[in-house]
Amino acid sequence: MTDFTTYDYNSLVAAATQAIQNAPGFGNAYNSSIGQTIIQLISQLCDQLAYMLERRTQENYLTIARLQSSIWALASSIGYRPTRKTSANGYVSVELVNSSGAVVGPVGTVTIPKYTQMVSGAYSFVNTADIVINPGQASPTVLNQIKEGTVTSTTYTPSFGPSSATTPWYDTTNPIILLTNYVNIENTSLYITDANGVWNDVTQPIGSASPIGAISFATPTDRVYDVKINADGLMIVFGDGVTGLAPTLALTVSYITSNGAAVSVQNIPGSPGAYFTIPTSAKLNDNATPTNSYLYWIWNTTAIAGGLNEESVTSIKFHAPDFVRSADRAVTKGDYAYWTKESTIGGIVDAACYGQQEIGPNPYYMNNVYITYLTEEGLAMDNADEDSLRNYLANLMTMTNYLVLQAATLVPVQIIFRIQRNPALAIPTSVLYGIVENYLASFFTFKEGALGSQVFTSDITTAFNDYQILNNNAMTNISEWVTVECYLMRPFYITTYGSATPLEILASQNIYTTTITAGTTGDNYKLVIDGTTYSYTMTAGQTATQIAAGLVAALPGGTVTAIASSNVITITTSVANTAITIANTGSTVPANCAVAISLPLPAYLFPNENTLGTQLISPSSVQLVNMDTGAVTYTDDGAGNFAGGTINYVTGAVSIPVPATGNYFIRYLQNIDENMATNNQCALDYLNAPQTWTPSTNIVEGTYVYKTSVVVGSSPATTLAFVAENSGITGATEPTWDSTPGNITTDNGINFRATYAFSTVTIFS
């Protein structure tokens, strides 16, 4: 056996047979001979032994270990903490009612203490904070977050000695509490107290305190514990009095036992959610004297979703080496990104990092480290969270660096789902609707890996085509087919100020244009900006260009900027999200001082608009949509006309008649002829022309029309995000847009509208 990896049974038999083929009794190698039987028996034993040895060896190396217990223990031994189960969570509404079902306000204060068990169906939930209903408070209802699971609370008295079920303390250097069934302990629910207060996780302290990192870094007074895992279970390790305070008082260990991803409670828009009961009491008491009791209604106002199972062994094998490479210090950009994610401060789920040298050799900023983060809500952290993150990273940095923290910004994309339900499903469409909504919410959740990822709409359609639920005791697909349409989207809000109707454009500037037409000498040209009138009087022989220049000179400076070009004055504000009002009230001939409003489409989607000089917006694809109703208000005609206004397919400049007050967005397709992916920009890239839906032909997997491609360059980094929004179910066999939110009319099809957002992260100093 020159090949040392060839020690399987057949190789062993062949080798032994060859080695002793001439020995009396062992010769001939006939299976029916006693000698050959002996050879085979010994070879089989050797094969078994080799397998056992190999398996034992295997379980000692993280990359090739197979048992979950081995992988968790190995990862823990290098300081990595695998993620335990995460409970589904959401919000419930609580109302006190009388015997007639009418909502009432209590006489005294009614309090539902934190971690009160609430039951819906077969599963239990607990509220994550006290629910307080004040005297007389009947409306609005009280909203509170709940988590799936049941609370376990055990008190341990220090009693050093061998560990057992009743004496869970090890007689070792550091006191230890052992929890054997640890996978189901909700990942963030471990809570340890004694008579002197709370004990903090050494890596994830409660509140904004900076983590110490390890017990070995703790002072003798630090009330901290560490969590480690070995073959026996999860160990809560305390200090020994030298590094970390040693506990001397009785410790109460509380945690939520979670069912992970197995539990979700749907929420159907427009319908009440599932009802919850408190098993310990049919009525709630207030604190008045005498005490009053109230019936109650508790139901979920959002889906109770987001539960996750424990981290998979594959994930642990992938992430644990990153932890080792980071080695408790932040030096490389990978270190900074890793520790930013690891901190989870402010709900960070993903992060990317760049150094100054990657975006420009500016000597004044060479110590800048740019961290782009993505939080689970997609929002920027507040100052307190940013300070916490800076402190957290300061403990890991090996030199003085200045951290530039920047949240991912969102580039919205609208995706329209059309899902044909599987007729074999024996559930009402209303229930299926909730299932789809929950699945969409989980599919688009902000999570690690979103930053810089690439997503195709075919990923979405494939996921939905493959998604199955339990139906009549069999796993059944929910859909027969799914189609996805994807539009670039630009949301904005139109409000009313007095008699004028300005536009407020989120995250951008208001742009107004005033087109001057020469009139008669002595005509007044007036612009009323935020209530103040600015006037210019035409003199003899003046051209429109001269009048425009004169009017611009009369306008104020400051936050309002006016520039005349020929006879067009462009007026902008430099304050984003702050509307100004402009009207031509008082002009002698208002038509000669026409005010129009231009809606600029997001410029960061078209960074090459001036250099390419071609149409980046696909003609006949532009629509102004009411976000609240889904109704299409304006549509372009493909020739640059937009419901009386205009649209420039090259620059994205839009001018439209002002619609009614409300939430709107403009959606449009990118021109198929342009491929901005080559320019390393965030872009939609279409593979084919939109496919026509044919009622008689099912759309099969793999033929989907759009590829939504986000290409990642070194800068800017790109990520994606999702904002769940609206939904409806169509009533026709042919799926069409249903403009009524939450309207459920038939079982034939579901038309789900969601706002799918891509985020571009541009790094600036």
């Binding site: 009794g25 010769g27 001939n28 299976n31 001979s33 006693i34 039987t37 085979q40």
Partner: protein, 168 residues
């Protein structure tokens, strides 16, 4: 394993080579020590440990040669049930199951065919000429005579056995 078949308790089956090994191989007590076969015309020696793994006068495991080795091989094949041999599940013959079958000519014919098949598969040192199985209902037994010719040398041999349930 005891099973009750037609009122009789069958404790075990018994395969017994009817003839003495020396009857077929007079030279087995004097094997060729230099690798020369004791089979006339064949320069090869078959050898195998004795099934009982006894120790000879020299303190070595007793070894059988040539005719005896082959005969022991036949006995091993017939006395091993398929699935019994570790890592070789198809090895053996289904002879033991025939003790539970009616003791008649049909069973005898099937038994004969099975024996012939397994010998062809597992013992290619011989050419099976015939397998004669005679049922003996009175004794609840089958008498088996296997006539075969050695591939090496052409010697014609007969192996006789008796398949019988243990009487009460």
């Amino acid at each position: 394993m005891a099973r009750i078949i037609d009122g009789a308790v069958i404790d075990y089956y018994d395969i017994d080579g009817g003839a003495s090994p020396s009857q077929f191989n007079p030279s087995n007590s004097n094997p060729a020590s230099n690798g020369t076969s004791t089979i006339p015309g064949v320069n090869f020696t078959f050898s195998d440990f004795l099934f009982t793994m006894t120790i000879d006068s020299n303190g070595s495991p007793t070894v059988e040669y040539d005719f005896d080795a082959i005969k022991q091989s036949i006995q091993t094949i017939l006395s091993t049930s398929p699935g019994e041999r570790m890592m070789l599940p198809t090895f053996g013959c289904n002879v033991p199951s025939y003790v539970f079958e009616p003791c008649n000519a049909l069973t005898a014919r099937n038994l004969s065919a099975d024996i012939k098949d397994v010998l062809i598969e597992w013992e290619n040192r011989i050419s099976v000429d015939s397998v004669d199985v005679t049922p003996s209902p009175d004794q609840n037994a089958f008498y088996i005579d296997i006539n075969y010719t050695l591939i090496f040398g052409g010697a014609v041999q007969t192996y006789s056995a008796q398949l019988q349930t243990q009487p009460l």
